[in-house]
């Protein structure tokens, strides 16, 4: 039997004893040798800015950082598709010795001339942080020569955690915001922040708001467009999903432009409905609220028969959730409850102590709450708590499968929209199709527990 040991230095980040006084020791650098599911600062910046499809994204560094993030997210664009290419200065030994600034300059000029992007982001990687290339100076020079914004992203991998990468991306976006013309933006306008248009999710959400009579000035960064971001300070409300990645931009816009923000989630019927009501209420618009109620009624009616049918078989099944941000975990706990399932493990990569308290509060007693889990900890609890389902990303998938446990991909590679009402139906279908699959009948750990789904 596998001997799962939890490292002593990790115990403050795992709440599994049901102790009421437990305070999560989170927002830390990952422990060396603990096989964290997190990546680095660069990863945080790259995933946030990636969907801006009419910008050039140039990675200044060695090839790995660029190769592993080529076409990495399922973020769709209604216009250009430049974001799906991977550009890299591909630093060589001589660049590391003599500096890579010249190579960066040449790369930028040639790429801008050929691809004619609306702006360029230059990502600084570990090695650039060490050799000290002045990317700011190169950016200013190219900006002047080519008359487009060239924005450094200070995302050196070792300078913090993925969350610091979110802030670096927001700082980069902050340099674009406020540089565009806002006179055509109507009063009742919002920006959608923190949705990445995976499989077209931003469009689903935007259409609901439009139907309510709310104008969407900019979607940041899903289906993001440089000109819209420039002018997004013309909106009167920022609606922020994925609290971790975009809150620093929302706070900056509040301080600088007096634009308030609300936090929402588009996963699950309740959270999705609340996201519409909150916006209507913000604008004090009875008309928008009535329309929102109409949307919720109409869309729920469409999916409820299917959800009820799923619930028949899923009731009592146990789920483990390990995702990037805490807000998604909250929504998933609620969405699973809606399907009759309970959560036996909930954790994320970037939560803060309030997030974990809230997570604990909405879960059943005895649920393991975990920050920055490593692969073995996930395997240990999924096994010990006998989960029927693991929700995570590609890195978590084999943990589930090797244990004979169903899996739902809720990460940025997914190709099915899981947001909005339609998304809730897709989510139910994914969960149901994996949990009720007949293949578990043949997996050694599960063999003998014959089960059959009704759908």
């Amino acid at each position: 039997m596998a001997d799962f040991k939890v490292l002593t230095a990790r115990q403050g980040q795992i709440d599994d004893a049901g102790n009421n006084d437990f305070v999560m020791a989170c927002e830390r650098h990952s422990l060396a040798g603990s096989i964290s599911q997190r990546a680095c600062v660069f990863c945080g910046s790259r995933v946030v800015l990636y969907p801006i499809a009419d910008a050039l994204h140039l990675i200044h560094g060695p090839i790995g950082c660029a190769a592993y993030t080529w076409d990495i997210r399922g973020s769709l664009s209604s216009g250009e598709n430049l974001h799906r290419m991977s550009f890299c200065t591909d630093l060589q030994e001589k660049d590391v010795v003599f500096g890579g600034a010249d190579k960066l300059y040449k790369s930028l000029v040639e790429l801008i001339d050929y691809y004619k992007p609306k702006a360029a982001f230059v990502y600084s990687t570990c090695i650039v942080g060490l050799i000290g290339d002045d990317i700011e100076a190169v950016a200013r020079r190219v900006e002047k020569e080519k008359s487009i914004s060239v924005i450094p992203v200070y995302s050196e991998g070792f300078k913090g955690t993925k969350k610091d990468g979110y802030s670096a991306a927001c700082a980069a976006l902050g340099r674009l915001v406020g540089t565009g013309e806002t006179k055509n933006i109507p009063e009742m306008s919002i920006n959608i922040l923190g949705d990445f248009n995976l499989a077209g999710e931003t469009w689903i959400i935007r259409d609901y708001y439009k139907e309510m009579g709310i104008n969407v000035a900019a979607t940041i960064t899903g289906d993001g467009k440089v000109d819209e971001i420039r002018a997004c300070h013309g909106a009167s409300l920022n609606v922020v999903q994925c609290s971790g990645s975009m809150s620093s931009l929302a706070r900056m816009m509040q301080d600088k432009y007096g634009i308030p923000y609300i936090r929402v989630s588009y996963f699950g019927i309740e959270d999705m409905a609340q996201a519409l009501y909150d916006v209507a209420n913000h604008f004090n618009s009875r008309e928008a609220l009535e329309k929102a109620k109409g949307i919720v009624k109409r869309e729920s009616d469409l999916i409820m028969p299917y959800l009820r049918a799923c619930r028949r078989d899923l009731t009592g099944k146990k789920a483990a959730i390990y995702v990037g941000g805490a807000f998604k975990a909250f929504s998933l706990v609620r969405a699973l409850k809606f399907l009759g399932m309970c959560t036996i493990l909930a954790g994320c990569q970037t939560g803060n102590s309030q997030d974990y308290e809230q997570l604990k509060a909405i879960c059943d007693p005895g649920t393991v709450i975990i920050d920055d889990a490593n692969a073995l900890e996930l395997a240990k609890f999924v096994k010990e708590k006998d989960a029927d389902l693991l929700i995570g990303g590609v890195k978590e998938r084999p943990i589930a499968y090797k244990l004979g446990v169903a899996f739902c991909d809720h990460n940025h590679e997914r190709k099915e929209p899981l947001a909005g009402f339609l998304g809730m139906k897709n989510f139910a279908r994914e969960v149901y199709g994996s949990v009720m699959s007949p293949v578990w009948n043949f997996v050694p750990r599960r063999a003998g527990v014959i089960k059959r789904g009704q759908l």
């Binding site: 070792f158 590609v394 050694p444």
Partner: protein, 451 residues
């Protein structure tokens, strides 16, 4: 109008640490460990998991800002201790990333002290320098093989054994490795493959969670490498790397005969391997394989008219590309572009040696996918052959893509793509011919039922 680009656009290579990880994954009870930022290990995990669809745990020393300033030594040691506490591995393979290599940590010194602390019962610690600015994943793979051999092969490995051979594969699929192991076994040879990730990266359904997936070459087997009769190293370009190979070390230090042959892709390259096995074992090719060879030739004949003159764009690691040119040209196809992200400078020469086609392909080393696309648009290929990263090119040109090599991120069964030996050639051949027939069928409005 032609443009030249300083930047790499859609890379056709990966970084050195990935290659090193693959080697460590092929050793029993071993843990790959990247000395660098957390992202290096996590990105490589995700990349490999998407291909193999099996767990890939890779440890990291997870540099912080202070490690970059004051050195990563203490993070390295903390990381190693934590890995030993949780996984209790028999071997830890440490690859130093560009970050660690550049700040100039004295990793060897730190490890020497640590090994003393561990004592003789501790895990074997292997260190390989893999700064990604000095090569591709293919070089990281070679360097790691060499580093493991140098570190582990024992000075007193016992008396030489007539039937033992050390095998150093190129980056083959797990199914290739399984098949090659069968072949060596059927020749009565005791072959030890480094690396052998045929089980660790393509495992069975488990009844218990395995901290480190079972399989791989044992540390003791590597230790006794010097007692082998011979070493066989696959890969036409690797063969030219001489001193950088594990086999060269065994030759120089222990006088183990070193044979270098091309990757056995296609009929001729497989013949070359079987000839070597005959001479090493002293026995004739077992009927199973001579039958396979016969069926392969029969299939070559059956399908030759479907493929003759068809133009192919191929790309991948340099050893793979040489193998594919050899195979495609012997069935009458025309490789028009042969590209690799690697740049040993040897690709063109090695391709010229195996190419049976009168036409010389555009050999692009140090290539990226954007430049491969530019060449392909001009040369109008009928088929694309390589990793799944050529999909967008195939889609744009409306030609089929036959997936072979690493990575394959958009299909299931990447670990089971067989391309080595007669059976591998047959499987590759069927895929190529059928992809061309499929394309012909789909592009015609008639809907032929017989082809």
């Amino acid at each position: 109008m032609s443009h030249s680009f300083t930047a790499t656009r859609n890379s056709c290579k990966l970084c050195m640490p990935l290659g090193a990880v693959m080697v460590v994954k092929g050793i029993a009870s071993a843990m790959p460990f990247l000395h660098g930022s957390q992202g290096c290990s996590t990105y490589i995990r995700r990349y490999m998991i998407s291909h193999f669809r099996d767990p890939v745990d890779i440890a990291s020393s997870n540099f912080s800002e202070s490690s970059a300033v004051f050195g990563g030594g203490s993070n390295l040691l903390t990381g190693l201790r934590n890995i030993i506490a949780q996984y209790n591995p028999r071997l830890i393979g440490i690859a130093t990333t560009c970050l660690a290599e550049t700040i100039g940590d004295d990793v060897s010194g730190i490890l020497r002290t640590f090994e003393k602390e561990l004592g003789p019962d501790g895990p074997v610690i292997v260190h390989v320098a893999t700064p990604s600015y000095s090569g591709s994943h293919e070089e990281g793979f070679r360097r790691a093989v060499r580093a493991v051999v140098e570190k582990v092969a024992a000075k007193s490995a016992g008396v030489p054994q007539e039937k033992r051979v050390n095998v150093f594969p190129a980056i083959f699929s797990p199914d290739d490795l399984r098949y090659l192991k069968d072949i060596f076994f059927d020749f009565g040879l005791q072959a030890a493959f480094l690396p052998d990730y045929s089980d660790t990266l393509d495992g069975k359904a488990w009844s218990e969670y395995e901290l480190i997936p079972k399989g791989g070459i044992g540390v003791d087997e590597i230790r006794s490498f010097p007692a082998a009769k011979a070493s066989i190293t696959f890969g036409a370009v690797t063969a030219r790397m001489g001193l950088l190979t594990g086999a060269a070390y065994l030759k120089d230090s222990f006088n183990v005969a070193a044979h270098f042959i091309a990757s056995p892709i296609g009929l001729r390259a497989s013949d070359e391997m079987f000839d070597l096995l005959k001479s090493l074992s002293g026995i004739e090719t077992p009927t199973r394989y001579s039958d396979e060879r016969g069926r392969l030739v029969d299939a070559y004949v059956d399908g030759h008219k479907y493929v003759y003159g068809k133009k192919a764009v191929i790309y991948g690691e340099e050893d793979l590309v040489v193998g594919l040119v050899s195979f495609l040209s012997e069935i009458g196809m025309v490789p028009v572009v042969a590209a690799s992200g690697g740049k040993s400078g040897l690709l063109k020469e090695e391709i010229a040696r195996v190419n049976l086609c009168a036409h010389e392909p555009k050999v692009a080393d140090g290539a990226d996918f954007a430049s491969i696309t530019d060449h392909a648009r001009k040369l109008k290929p009928d088929i694309i052959i390589g990793s799944s990263k050529g999909y967008s090119l195939a889609k744009e040109l409306k030609v089929p893509l036959v997936r072979v090599g690493f990575p394959v991120h958009d299909r299931i069964g990447a670990a089971r793509i067989l391309s080595c030996g007669y059976k591998g050639a047959l499987s590759l051949y069927d895929s190529v011919v059928n992809a061309l027939l499929d394309s012909k069928q789909n592009s015609s409005s008639i809907g032929y039922g017989y082809l």
